[in-house]
Subunit: 213 residues, 2 copies
């Protein structure tokens, strides 16, 4: 489906990367539909034929943007929480997410979330890719939580699958609300409360009538 150039010169790869970078930026701020090929040409200083030399059509470009954003976001996650396997790491992860958002003055949301929201109902292939991207992200969280459980930082009743999903949903919802309100508070509260919920599964807090739902 995507253009698969057998070989690719260093110069060619550079041009291709530059195109993907510019396309990412534009598509994430203006949306995919509002971003024209001409915009990308101008911003990346390439001509039409160059662009269509590397990408069969706009769909292929979107595909490349999704790939790029997936590796970027997951890479950032790994960076932020080299191993997300302690409450301290969770807290750092939260702080970093909030810091990034504040640094952007609360413009823009999660790259994957933004793309998913726009493409879920119009581009089945994109929806599928983004679903697996979310799956990989979720796995990062799940593995960390599982490690915490085996290590005894979480009670056996804690369900890493569900907690990971809850954390991911909190990030997404928090980012969307913060982006809309131009205020980092929603993101902070969403992350704080979901982490606080995880904390209820710490042995020291595990008490009376807790339920995992």
């Amino acid at each position: 489906m995507a253009t698969e150039p057998a070989r690719l010169t260093a110069k060619g790869r550079a041009t291709r990367d530059r195109i993907v970078g510019v396309a990412s930026e534009l598509m994430l701020t203006q949306g995919v539909a509002r971003t024209t090929i001409e915009d990308i040409q101008r911003e990346a200083s390439v001509s039409a034929s160059q662009l269509y030399h590397y990408f069969a059509d706009k769909h292929a470009l979107v595909h490349a943007v999704i790939e790029r954003q997936t590796t970027d976001v997951l890479g950032f996650q790994r960076l932020a929480l080299d191993r997300l396997d302690s409450f301290a790491a969770l807290q750092e992860w939260r702080d970093m997410a909030v810091a990034v958002m504040e640094q952007r003055n609360c413009t823009g949301g999660c790259p994957l979330g933004t793309l998913a929201s726009e493409l879920a109902e119009t581009d089945p292939a994109a929806r599928d890719e983004l679903a697996t991207s979310f799956g990989r992200w979720e796995k990062l969280l799940r593995d960390g939580l599982a490690a915490m459980r085996t290590r005894g930082e979480l009670v056996p009743e804690a369900d890493p699958d569900r907690l990971a999903l809850a954390l991911l949903a909190a990030v997404q919802g928090g980012l969307l609300l913060s982006q809309t309100r131009r205020d980092s508070l929603p993101l902070e509260v969403a992350l704080d409360t979901s982490i606080a919920y995880v904390r209820t599964f710490a042995p020291s807090n595990w008490g009376s009538g807790q339920r995992v739902g």
Copy 2:
């Protein structure tokens, strides 16, 4: 900003409403940018001049769609939780949200969330309207939680402002993930865990080392 026709015949209002309805449906599934005026004309069986008689331009139409969706969503909320002031009501609210999503086979997300994601960075006026829409939604939740607290169903340490924000973020994030995965599980887990967190502020559960963050 919006076309404000001094008077409006019953027939005219019907036509206008039909246009807004069709526009809503199309814009929410295909996105605003992908929805053409021609699409709306065809689907609503109106001519170009009719459409531009009621709406100055596409922006005005978007404005009307936001208004419509806001009243619809908030109306549905009120319906679902005539008064959201008990854990039973919270549970019903959760069940109804999940039921709606399953009924749609997990296609489409939250109307307000979808619009916000697409328009936040390209249409400042729309972003502002959607921010206040979210604010009103949040207030519904906050008032219910506050009522629960004064009634003693929640401990005084519970912060209705923060809990409401957390619940709203959970719905938004859960819906986005469920829409992307075509699976209601993320929504269920997001709502269950955030409600479970609220439940940790019930007097019977309030124990050892809880923190509000």
